[in-house]
Amino acid sequence: GPKVLQIPSHQIIDMGQMVTLNCDPVSNHLYFYWYKQILGQQMEFLVNFYNGKVMEKSKLFKDQFSVERPDGSYFTLKIQPTALEDSAVYFCASSSGQNTEVFFGKGTRLTVV
């Protein structure tokens, strides 16, 4: 089936540094999402993105977070600066339209030390 690819699968970064998580969504999908899952907890919505703009974001989407998809390349989540509480698995997802099936990637495990 359609695949959402996330690169890298694991990343360790020093607190205060910047990190960029990359997502290659399903070809021709137009809606993109990031979710955050802390160990032992549920996946929580961060943001969705359409037509070059943030459409919805949760309170977890702090000012240090930003998303973009320049020129149809990777959909990225940037955290600058990182904090210890940013350690989690980040899932990228995409869908072709509103109210259509959402496809998830395998996640990037981010460890902030």
Binding site: G1, K3, V4, Y31, Y33, Y35, G40, Q41, Q42, M43, E44, F45, N48, M55, E56, S58, F91, S95, Q98, N99, E101, V102, F103, F104, G105, K106, G107
Partner: protein, 112 residues
Amino acid sequence: QQQVRQSPQSLTVWEGETAILNCSYEDSTFDYFPWYHQFPGESPALLIAIRPVSNKKEDGRFTIFFNKREKKFSLHIADSQPGDSATYFCAARPTGYQNFYFGKGTSLTVIP
């Protein structure tokens, strides 16, 4: 405040039994309720979903039962197979929005 609650956290059944996974939700504006499953090292993948206009949705061995009045929905896996062993997540989406609220997941083990 957790919008979607899921139980049990883990479940073990014998091959051939029916596994029952439960979820409840808070917000009555939720209008779409999918179940995802995730095998180790893989992505969460959509298994089956229901909208509140129905109280039951079947797809092969997988059935969702939905109770709008009690704000509960459950996934029944009939004739469970060892290959069904995975983590199952229920979710809910508010009307007019594209984001999901997920449960914490149920780790299902089916013993041959």
